[in-house]
Structures are given as structure tokens and as C-alpha cells.
Subunit: 319 residues, 2 copies
């Protein structure tokens, strides 16, 4: 997403900075474990974006949330109270304020919110609830808003949304509701194994696509063999010739292949939409395509903003 400012808007920003008129109508916030992003919203559109990679929920203690947010959004505030709508891990037990989970099956958002405790009178921070599932136990925070955002543009969608990430989610949608979902720690496992296990010695910067696709097949066919195949990546480089880019692609393919085998009841014969950032969504897309599926892709930032906007509109109606 690229935000372009015209001259009138720049003037408005300068006026806001020097007076009491707010630059933003409201502020949208996506606050995950490792990342904080905020958008100044006006007329349903993002006018400016700010982000910090070092102010994720995982890096903050409870008293650090308000200063972290204020530092970022202060230029967009006026003298009056500003509505700030936030989704993500900021609402976890270890976050700023715990937002209750809504239990599936239910619509992706609208079940609940919590107000964050603030000291600055200009801030009115509303954190959206995540979703939970009792059996098998599962939770999400943030993805429910992206799902709502996607559904706003495709309200009759009936199928599977896959949200690739550190914790990839497979979500079954029907009649505007989240019916069930399942989380796979594939991304986190890839990061741990590639950076911190004995396999780190075998990783390089390359990417061997054939090795990736072969590994997806191996991971799907014999998922129980993963812990052995991981070591085989290391051993292969010791007893034979290492192909640049093959080790990383193979590790990624084995993990995604095993996930596709497990998530097969979700995607087989279904309409699938991948909602994620470019590179990782691309891997899932190629892996699924190799298995005969025909995944579509959608922009996840657009879905996040649409979801936060829908929540804001609903909160405004209610007051």
C-alpha cells in the first residue's frame, strides 16, 4: 500500500500540528507481537501510516503501551478525544488490556471490546476481541479483523481463508461466520530451526525452487519423518555436495508440506483465499498449486484497514 498526500492534505497536517484541529478523524491500529502499525484515517481512507518494528506487544510491559502509542500518533491528535481502534496481541493477557475472546462459531468481529487504561485525556483506545475455539483448543487475535475486512468486500464468501504468518491460520467461513479454525506454528518453527538449531550451519541466502517443491511433496507424504529429514538436510551437506539455496528451501518445503497434509480437510475441494504478505503467501500459493488446488490471494493490509474501519463504524453507530 502507498499513501499519496496532496497539497490540501499537507496543509491540513501542518494546521493540525500548530493548532487544536485534529489531523485524523480516527486512528486505526494493528498491534501484533512483534510489530506496531497505525494509520491516520479520514473519510474512510488512510491518510498517513506509521510503524515501529521494535514496539510489538512482546517487547512491552503494561505501562509502556501508552507512551509507545502516543509517540507515534501524537502528530495526528487535536485537543479533543480521539477514537483509536486496535486489533491484535495488544488485547492478550500479557498485552495492554485483556479483551475477552468470542467463541466460534460467530461473526469475526463485533462480539466484544475492551477500553485500554490511559492517562492522556486525548486518547480513547478500544481494543477488539479475538476469537477462541474450545475443541480443538485454538485462539486468534488480529486475524479476526482481517477476516472481517475480507468479508466486507466479499460478503457471500463460502470457503477457506488461509492467513500465513508466524502462526498460520486456516479458517472455515460460511454465512458470514467463522465456523472453525486451526493454527499451525509453521513460521515460528522455521525461524527457530533455521536460525538456532544445528541446521543454521547449512543455511545460505539462496532459494532453490525445485528443492522447495520436492520438499513440499516429501512433507505431505511422510510428515512423521520431519525430525529425521531436518537432520538429513545437515548431513546431506556433510556427506555430499551442498546446492546453494537448497537447504533453506527444503526446510521451508518440509514444514509447509506437513502443514498442508494436516490442513487437508480444510482446503481439499474448497475455495481458498490466501490473505498474507507477498513472500510467505507466495510460498503457500505455489505449494497448494502443486497439490492441484487453485488458491486466490488478497491484500492483507487492505483487509486489516477495512476490518478496523467496519469496527469503528459499528462503534460510532452504538454511541
Amino acid at each position: 500500500m502507498r499513501i499519496t498526500l496532496d497539497f490540501a492534505d499537507v496543509s491540513r497536517f501542518i494546521n493540525a500540528m500548530s493548532g487544536t484541529a485534529a489531523y485524523a478523524e480516527w486512528i486505526a491500529v494493528d498491534w501484533g507481537t512483534s510489530n506496531l502499525r497505525a494509520w491516520a484515517m479520514r473519510d474512510g481512507e488512510p491518510m498517513m501510516e506509521a510503524s515501529r518494528l521494535d514496539k510489538g506487544m512482546g517487547a512491552l510491559t503494561p505501562d509502556q503501551f501508552e507512551p509507545a502509542l502516543l509517540e507515534m500518533v501524537e502528530p495526528w491528535l487535536g485537543g479533543a478525544k480521539m477514537t483509536i481502534v486496535a486489533c491484535g496481541m495488544v488485547g492478550a493477557r500479557q498485552g495492554w488490556a485483556e479483551a475477552p475472546y468470542a467463541a466460534v462459531p460467530c461473526p469475526p468481529v463485533g462480539a466484544g471490546t475492551v477500553k485500554a487504561p490511559v492517562t492522556d485525556p486525548r486518547l480513547d483506545v478500544i481494543i477488539l476481541s479475538g476469537l477462541s475455539q474450545i475443541s480443538p483448543p485454538d485462539v486468534m487475535r488480529g486475524e479476526e479483523t482481517q477476516i472481517a475486512g475480507y468479508l466486507a468486500g466479499d460478503p457471500d464468501f463460502d470457503g477457506i481463508l488461509c492467513l500465513p504468518g508466524t502462526h498460520t491460520k486456516w479458517v472455515q467461513i460460511s454465512a458470514g461466520e467463522v465456523v472453525s479454525f486451526r493454527t499451525y506454528m509453521t513460521g515460528e518453527l522455521f525461524a527457530l530451526i533455521s536460525k538456532q538449531s544445528v541446521l543454521r550451519h547449512s543455511m545460505d541466502e539462496g532459494w532453490e525452487e525445485d528443492a522447495f517443491l520436492a520438499a513440499v511433496r516429501d512433507g505431505m507424504a511422510d510428515p512423521q519423518a520431519l525430525a529425521g529429514r531436518f537432520f538429513g538436510i545437515r548431513a546431506g551437506g556433510l556427506v555430499g555436495e551442498a546446492i546453494p539455496g537448497a537447504a533453506k528451501a527444503r526446510l521451508s518445503g518440509l514444514l509447509i508440506g506437513a502443514e498442508l497434509a494436516a490442513a487437508k480437510p480444510y482446503w481439499l475441494g474448497q475455495r481458498i483465499v490466501l490473505l498474507g504478505d507477498g513472500r510467505l503467501a507466495g510460498l503457500y500459493s505455489r505449494a497448494l498449486s502443486a497439490e492441484g488446488a487453485a488458491p486466490e490471494t488478497a491484500d492483507v493490509t487492505h483487509a486489516t484497514l477495512t476490518g478496523l474501519t467496519a469496527a469503528y463504524e459499528k462503534l460510532k453507530e452504538a454511541t
Copy 2:
């Protein structure tokens, strides 16, 4: 293993310390990635043991191996050259000196050695070769010596040796040879996931044996579901009530269960001997027993020393 010294031996040690007569006849060394152990050997028996948890091969640069060894074994040296026989990762490419691999099928030791470069004239350090397998690619360093040590006491053994550890090995033995083997990174995955992934928030000190055995069954039945079940451990603690000790036991059981599913061609219907330290070997023993196997266990330190002694005797014959 407990080493008891009698009065004559203590006198001998004191004499050695004050003169030029060596205390040890030769020195046995097990030098792994994270640990260094040495034994002063005489008349085929360990007289003293020394170990350092901070001088494993993984913590040392090439020039640090000799000082680390010397610091530990100097009290056992005399004025003459001392034979020191070492096995383990000390012979890896990143170790003190690279010992070539012997390719299976072959006897577990005897295929090759390398002399470590030393500056102290009293040291004669011989590093034993590891084993490699071309297809599927696999390697071991140190376990071959333990296997040789076990076989010295049971030369007609025909079956499977399982060596649980950071990288667990399943080894097929027939007619005194290693026929094939397979390494699973199960122990390293457990350490990474329990200490560094999002699951670290769910770990406590307890151990729920029923949760372990149920997870072994789940891991064997649906190994592809691992990355989802891992997240389920975390989510289960968030949406329900966490049972103390269940999270760690479940993670361990899922990983070992998936390994048992993969290694089934090794152990099903075979004689199995577990060669490992108490706690981890106990987990494998209970998991295998729950699957109807009847694993035996054997002492791994005894096997290491017996294997190093056999290598020493063979080197002595050759000179």
C-alpha cells in the same frame, strides 16, 4: 558410574603429581558438542574422571582445544608421551581436527583416526572417525564408539540400538556391523520449542505421565498435525484450565510419538536396546512399551569407556 580409589591408588596419584611417573596408563576422552569428559585409565579401568560442561566442541575455537584438554588431564600426565583416545564432535569439521567418516555398512570403529595437532610434547591425541551414510544422508560422531562398546559385551547382537539424545540415533546392527542408521532432531526440537517458542509461556516444572502417553499416541497417529497440536498446547491453557506438568509432557510425547512413527521400520518386531542416560532413555522406554515393544536398556557411559578401550587396544597392537 562411581569410581572408588583405594589407598595405594591415592599414593600413586600423589607420586605422579610430584615426579615424572604418569598416573594414567592412557586417557579416554568423550568430547561432544556441549560437554567434555575424560577418564584416567589403568589396567582397563577408569581410575579418575573429570568433566567440564563449558568446554564442549561447540564452545571452542580450534586453538582452544589443546589448553582445554591440558587443563583437565595435566595431573594424570608424566614426563613421557601419553596416549589420549577421543571420540565425538571433536573430530568434526568445526572441531580440533577433522576425522574422516567411514561409510556404512561397516564395523562401528576401526576404519580411521586422525592425530590432533598439539604443541605440548607430552600429548599424543588420536581422534576416532565417525560414520556416514550416503542415502538417506546421515552422520554420527561419538555414537559409533558407544555402539562398539556395547557390541564388545554382546558380540552376537542382531537388532536395533537406539541412542536417545539431542540428536537421537536409530541403528541397525547385524553381524558386528552398522547396517544403516537414522538421526532424529527430536531432542533439539524439544529444547527449542519449550524454551524459545510461544509455548515457553505454558511450560512449568511438573510432569503429567498420562498426558505424555496420550501425546505419544497422538504423535504416532497424526504426525502431520504436530505444528497445529503444538499451538493447541498454548491455546488449551488460554481457553481452558491448564493442568500442571501437562504442557511439557504433551510436547515431549508428541515429538517422541512422531519419531516412533517414522522409525517404525527400525523397531517393529526387532530386539531393541536403549543406550542413553537415565531420564531420556526412560521416556523412550515407556513410549515404546506403550506401543507393545519390549526395549532393553544398557549403560551408555560403560559403553563409551568400553568402546574407547577397544580402540586403544587396537591402536596399541598396530604400533
